[in-house]
Subunit: 367 residues, 2 copies
């Protein structure tokens, strides 16, 4: 799911998202609640109509944003009091209020209100946050709009027993799907995959599984292999705006001098609109000049790369060759990294990995 | 001609420009010379190939930018020494060098190197600048690439005799077209139209006439009536990015509160992509959230408005009813302004007029 924080996937039009083959996008309840507000969106018939998107929409619960913002807040059993980053005004999110907002937004899939514990956090805090998340999940389910699909969220931080306990609890509820939350908060790839491994065995086979805020192309493959079905991540859009582009042979920084005279496409194996019409050299020039078309081309290309990857994954699953597909994909994708002659790209990849886990969830409206 | 200062019409793709019906865009020699440089563009076969634009390109001579920048410079008979706004390095533009650069860019129409006198300026200065412009026009013509169409530029500031003298001089040269320059530099609408009126009688009937850096929809109509054929202006793109949108009933500021709940198109009489798919309320939301899609929708809409206006003008000329067309257009377009109930929009229109003449030429890479 491309991330459309404020009712728009940054730099893209809804027509382009459709053209790329996306059938569902994510909207952020926290941001849309503050601007333009659920009443306005409800008055025009919901978020689909407001933004003119014919596909599906999943809205998160705002839990991640509320808990990750530095603004003064109060966490109680009933809910969370927080300050708007827009105007400093005070607001309260409770499970019931969050369900009401998501109902007004009219999204197809709504998420339970949860407490996303930070990383690192003590086991004591993780237990508290998990228990509160479970209570809030029950209240969210009770307050849900029956016309919307409802997903519960597994928490439990980096603790094996808590993840198992939370997965069992959420699985026992009458939900339409289950998300694994509290990942991609700076814990690093190994701990993130642990959280998946500790949760998955307790999830029912027949419900959609959604790993929130993940991830890199490699993460998606590793998580799908572990049984995950759905993802959302700002990486393709945010990195695109910063000049970092995914290619068949690894992620590149288009601002590098090597692209000054590269008049071929960014990725010779890509058939997206950007690669079909514009060169790497032109894209680099647009970045150097801070032009809007740079963000447009790069975002389109990166989202297309993700769409194609997921299409490839689905096809490989149908053909019973997921592990081969993953191996083939990674053999090419890691080529940059393996090359000793391409130290610059390698270092860029390493730095990006480090950043990825801290930064691939939308906090501020930048994404 | 939409303005593509740095090899891109801000926020637009080349496919969109074509879709709107534009057949020619403007590129700025000054900016393209500094970044990415004429050698690079030449090496790939010219600006058309570098930016993937199948239509025509006119490049200005850089004279306007060089003379309007505040950076240290030296004006001599041979040319102008100026400092790059990018890195502070020194560069010299002479008529021969500017022709060489435009040849490397491979544009379809190139402009003579001229001195654009500021406003206000003394008659003494205006004479000096005009004489230098004439000398440079001859040298530009001598140095031109014969594969490109060449336009001379009339100067003369706000002085009737100088405009007549300059128009006669430039008309005597073997050019493919003639531009009226030195307008839209803060002199206001009346003096600008005077410059046109004083120049036009001396121009040959059979050559294209281009009024540089103009203007508002009303300016275009007023200038076409006076015999002008071609225009370039950043107003539709720059104002679009700032939330100011042209409509059949006048220019509006989409950020105004009245658009919060306006779920109709920005202009009910417009059939552009933006108006067909997105509401004024959504566009306002995108502006308030500083989203890229706001600039995209508004720029597309404004450029489409200009394209439609010019199509209407061409059709009216063919039908021999230009003055009626102008009257009909303005009767609707000035409706906002005439309404005493719409003081906000009126004031906005007035302020915009004031700004227009100082700001509708590209100086910095912002446009």
């Amino acid at each position: 799911m491309p991330v459309g924080t404020q009712g728009t996937v940054k730099a893209m039009s809804q027509e382009e998202l459709k053209e790329m083959g996306f059938e569902i996008i994510l909207g952020n309840t926290y941001h849309l609640y503050l601007r333009p507000g659920p009443e306005l969106i409800k008055s025009v018939g919901g978020l689909h109509k407001f933004i003119n998107w014919g596909g599906s929409i999943l809205t998160d619960s705002g839990g991640f944003q509320v808990f990750s913002l530095e603004h003064i807040r109060k966490i109680g059993e009933d809910g969370v009091v927080f300050r708007s980053y827009v105007d400093g005004s005070y607001h309260e999110f409770t499970p019931e209020r969050v369900m009401e907002i998501q109902s007004a937004l009219g999204s197809d899939i709504v998420m339970a209100f949860d407490e996303c514990a930070p990383y690192p956090c003590t086991k004591e805090y993780a237990v508290d946050a998990m228990v509160r998340t479970h209570e809030w999940a029950k209240r969210s389910l009770d307050a849900r709009d029956p016309n919307q699909a409802f997903f519960g969220i597994v928490q439990g931080s980096v603790y094996e027993d808590l993840r198992a306990q939370s997965a069992q609890f959420i699985s026992s509820m009458d939900t339409d799907g289950i998300a694994i939350g509290g990942v991609s908060v700076g814990e690093g790839k190994e701990l993130m995959m642990n959280a998946v491994d500790w949760s998955v065995p307790h999830l029912p086979e027949y419900k959609a599984r959604y790993l929130m805020g993940v991830g890199t192309p490699e993460d998606l493959l590793d998580a799908v292999v572990r049984g995950i079905d759905m993802f959302d991540c700002v990486l393709p859009t945010r990195l695109g705006r910063n000049g970092s582009l995914y290619t068949t042979y690894g992620r590149i920084n288009i601002k590098n001098n090597k692209y000054i005279t590269d008049f071929g496409p960014v990725d010779p194996e890509c058939d997206c609109w950007a690669c079909a019409n514009y060169s790497a050299a032109y894209l680099r020039h647009l970045y150097k000049c801070d032009e809007i078309l740079a963000s447009r081309l790069a975002t389109y290309h990166n989202l297309y790369f993700y769409a194609r990857l997921m299409q490839g994954i689905r096809q490989a699953i149908e053909q019973g060759r997921l592990l081969e597909f993953r191996k083939e994909f990674l053999a090419k994708y890691r080529k940059h990294r393996a090359s000793v002659h391409d130290e610059e790209a390698r270092q860029d990849n390493i730095n990006a990995e480090k950043r990825s886990y801290a930064g691939c969830r939308p906090q501020r409206p930048e994404d």
